[in-house]
Symmetry: C2
Subunit: 184 residues, 2 copies
């Protein structure tokens, strides 16, 4: 059986560990904000003008020519905005290590944000794949041969989103660990 | 201050509530298994043969003509398999309401499974959209005018996946609630 000092000792080390988890949570959120913000901006500013103009080839391509890329920008912007707001709760958790309900709320919202971000990134990736390789069975031809600069750019923007998705999964794990360490 | 009877009372009602959450977890898992299994099978068996054959129009279309639909079938199958295995842990949690580590593991794996399922469903949805409406800017023409039966089928299969995604988000919330109610 533990004495009173032992219990106090355990409770203190728990508090330190939970504060450590909360600080890690804050740092990861800032990384995810940078990643989603970068992806949204890089996609929203992507366009390419070709030096020639014929009857059959479009001479200019922009991200919003493909609605899926618009969804990508909107999805990344929403998740970025949510993450900025969630910083408030994250800081609150560093101060108040015993808060439970707000941690459950944050975990749930993180899961929803992850779902939105994955869907935006996966839909864009599917279209990028068609743009690169086309699909002979459906008679869709690759457009990346003409717009190679545009294609490189939109492929690159996907990376930021996928980094943010991995960070969000780690954030969900951290929240679960923090909740489990709270004595009721 | 509560008496010993009060503490025992609270502890009992906690146990009942946690068992309730665990049983709900099991039921939701069975629903998600049915949804992902249905989606995978419906997509994997989708094909259409046209009654005519010309030089320009492909006369037969199958789901694996489009690699994204193959990814959809594989993603749904993996998540379905994982959910079947997770039933074991779910039943274990009904019996042992105080297990914490296995609940955190389950929450984490559920989040990863949700990510995989969302990406499979969103990528397939992006391709289904191109199949339905095409994209004039990229000179991709809709194929659903020819293959209307095939298109209806593949659009329908998405529903199962999206139901399973919603169920997985609820499962993550249930796990978080269960973890928070465990006294350390």
């Amino acid at each position: 059986m533990k004495g009173v000092e032992g219990v106090v000792e355990v409770s203190k080390s728990r508090k330190v560990m939970k504060r450590g988890l909360s600080i890690m949570d804050l740092i990861l959120r800032i990384i995810a904000i940078a990643a989603t913000f970068g992806s949204a901006v890089a996609m929203a500013t992507s366009h390419e003008r070709l030096p020639f103009l014929t009857q059959f080839v479009h001479f200019r391509v922009e991200f919003d020519d493909l609605p899926t890329f618009m969804f990508f920008v909107v999805g990344n912007s929403i998740v970025c905005g949510y993450l900025v707001l969630s910083i408030v709760l994250s800081i609150f958790h560093i101060a108040r290590t015993t808060a439970v309900k707000s941690r459950i709320l944050l975990l749930f919202l993180d899961a929803v944000a992850m779902g939105l971000l994955v869907s935006a990134a996966a839909a864009a990736a599917a279209i990028v794949d068609i743009a690169h390789h086309g699909n002979p069975n459906a008679n869709w031809f690759p457009i990346c041969q003409q717009y190679s600069g545009f294609c490189r750019r939109i492929s690159g923007t996907l990376i930021g989103s996928f980094i943010a998705v991995v960070v969000l999964i780690i954030l969900i794990l951290i929240s679960a660990l923090s909740i489990s360490r709270i004595q009721a």
